[in-house]
Amino acid sequence: MWSPTEPVYRIATPTPAKAWRSRDGRYRLVGNRCEDCVLPFFPKRRVCPQCHSRSLTETVLAPYGRVVSAAEDRTPLIGHVGRDSRPFAIVALEDGPCVLTELVDVDTGTDAGGEGGPTTVTEGTEVELVVRKWRREASGPYQYGYKFRPRRAR
């Protein structure tokens, strides 16, 4: 079989440093909180959009929340293929901010569940943080990050 030896032409491919910089947010839900008006944020912000303070303190957000809105990806993107269905949701974290996340360990069925989302997850379902593979970076390494599953621990 013919096998090309020339490197593939790639323009503006980021180095692994780019994804590495956001590892605390992806693995541990590190957000921050405005010291002046106490609003919590995820992802971390550099300026508080409410009071324009630049004094923000990092905080690890509790890894629990409730589903606000749910949907189900039937056409996964490159790097996420190999599954027929990726349920995902907006989760309101116990500490305040909301996060967009894939849901794992939920039963989506095939066409079950009717309109509006995965079978066993609906508005109000309690979920908890897990760390799973996201996608392979353009520069090669695998990137991992948060996903959520129905809450087990109490």
Binding site: V68, S69, A71, D73, F88, V99, G116, G117
Partner: protein, 395 residues
Amino acid sequence: MNGTGVVIAGAGVTRHGFFPSRDWKDLVVESAYAALHDAGVSPGEVSGGFVSVSLPETFEQQNLGAIAADELGLAPAAFSQVGAACAGGTVALMNGVAAIASGAVRAVLVIGVEKQSDAASTADSMLHFPDAEYEAPAGFDYVDLMALMHDRYVRKYGATHEAIAQWVVQDRWYARRNPIAIDYGRAALTVAEVLDSPMVSRPITRAACGRACDGASAVVLMRAGGAPADCEPVEIAGIAQATGPNVLAAKFGHPASAGADIAEAVPTEVAAKKAYAQAGIEPHHIGLAQVHDCFSVMGPLHMEGLGIFPPGKAAAAAADGETALDGRCPTNTDGGRIGLGHPTGATGVSIAVESALQLRGRCGDRQVPDPDIAVCQSMGGSNATSAVAVLRRPR
């Protein structure tokens, strides 16, 4: 205030669709020279321009302002590239209005162009617009983000999937009658066909998705009273842009959201209020609208942002015929993003072209009876930015 003092003197647009043999430069030249011809303005009179594009990386080319100017034979005119995701065309229009209003230039070309067919995958090509740290690498593209907005809109306001699907049926109705639309001449659609088409990201089906495609559009802007005597100028009565958080989940509880979340188009509401104030109009004066329905649910969201329908009511109103040709406010008369097609960088200009043609009474089978005031709106990102223009037939 009353108006910007700037008019669209001429408008041009290419067919929207997939053209593998045509380069972005072919599309730019066709639309720009159509606009110049329509205005009766000679190329040498143009001293500035703005080129809106959202995916210059598919051209493997940046600095499109200078390149377009030279390609058009207009160098050394002052041209620059404008980017605001899918709202870029309307933002370029706003830049053009400011340039004319400043008195620095007499005639400006505002051009939008896209070559989505040059991208190996349109879903992947648009991946630089969702958040680069927490959305795109986690596997979420626009259809996923808008699936959540669709779900939230249904849960929060009790809108039905059938009413939202009716939006697609209406887009096809207009697109069948628009010779430049990607769906020109195609058969009518039914709500059942929209809901039964393959699921892309539940609850959004394939038929409910905007059609990323190739196309270009252009307008010539001049000062009111300064346009050639034999052209048919359309007044830009007001134009404004607003922004919001790009990270979808950050819209919940964000100070700029003022209690709204992802079931409302907050930047559209902010930009519309500014544009209406500049034009001296109220939402009930609007008899024609073009809104950014890159997915079916976004049409109703933006109609509500524009104040044409109350929150949560637009999908039902559209399903009741209020946005049809004989309705209270005919909407997306060019077929919208779903029926006309969505060359992302061009869209914000294409909607101004359609509005201008409607106000001049040149739209044939899809002509709205005697419109006075048209509003056109484009969105960039998942409500990260929105731009609104109010166009008026000269009084």
